[in-house]
């Protein structure tokens, strides 16, 4: 039994369903790609900031080194350095053999508009922590 007025209905349903499924999948892919990029940047930033801070001569120099390393890593990955939250803990005087812990957190916005970028709203926070040891024998 055929219904002439239903011809083409499957095609329309396929297109509608395709769009309804495709848009969220592509959107999720874009967000995941940004999360991946932020994860690569944050781990690099924390690792390099830890190395640089552990080689610094003083706490003040270590602070500058952390800021510089984080900013450089995030900028090279195409991210805004000022959006990151950076925490670091080091013993006063950076005594030999002590540890320096650097944590970097970066927010990846979930809501994006085409050609407009971030539209506010919730973010996925990507966090990375690195613990570096002040060289017990190396000169600084």
């Amino acid at each position: 039994m055929s219904f002439p007025d239903e011809r083409g209905q499957a095609l329309v349903e396929s297109i509608l369903l395709g769009v309804v499924l495709l848009v969220p999948i592509v959107w999720a892919l874009m967000i995941l790609a940004d999360v991946h990029r932020a994860a690569l940047a944050s781990t690099s930033a924390a690792r390099e900031a830890g190395f640089d801070a552990a080689r610094s001569e003083s706490s003040a120099a270590a602070g500058e080194a952390v800021d510089g390393a984080v900013s450089s890593a995030l900028t090279n990955h195409g991210l805004a350095g000022e959006s990151a939250t950076v925490d670091w803990i080091a013993p006063e005087g950076l005594e030999r053999g002590e540890t320096v812990e650097v944590s970097v957190a970066y927010p990846v916005p979930v809501v994006r508009l085409p050609f407009m970028g971030d539209a506010g709203g919730p973010s996925v926070w990507v966090r990375a922590t690195h613990v570096a040891r002040v060289d017990p024998y190396g000169s600084r």
Partner: protein
């Protein structure tokens, strides 16, 4: 089926782009580490791309340049290439990324 493969292609393309960005940074950063020299930047960037993305990045070209700013040396790594079209869309996309890293001047 074509739709699913297209989504997989998009995912691979985004992954490849991220790997290229991270590799350029790794090369620039490694060149400014203690005990390394600028000549190692290209090799490190190339090895990072190959180990993370394999043949996903084709026609890769890496240019390393150095400039000085006061006592500091700035290492710049420019990585260009094409992301292989693995999927239903036969259009390889070009990538062109640049990463900088600063080697502080030696303290006298």
């Amino acid at each position: 089926m074509v739709l699913a493969m297209g989504i997989a292609q998009l995912a691979l393309t985004l992954y490849g782009r991220n790997v290229v960005i991270a590799s350029a940074h790794e090369g620039a950063r490694a060149a400014t580490e203690l005990g390394r020299d600028v000549g190692e930047a290209e090799d490190i960037a190339r090895r990072t791309v190959r180990s993370a993305a394999g043949s996903l990045v084709e026609n890769m070209d890496i240019v390393v340049t150095t400039t000085t700013a006061g006592d500091d040396t700035i290492v710049r790594v420019r990585l260009t290439g094409r992301l292989a079209a693995i999927g239903p869309v036969p259009v390889p996309l070009s990538v062109d990324v640049t990463a900088n890293s600063v080697r502080p001047g030696e303290v006298e």
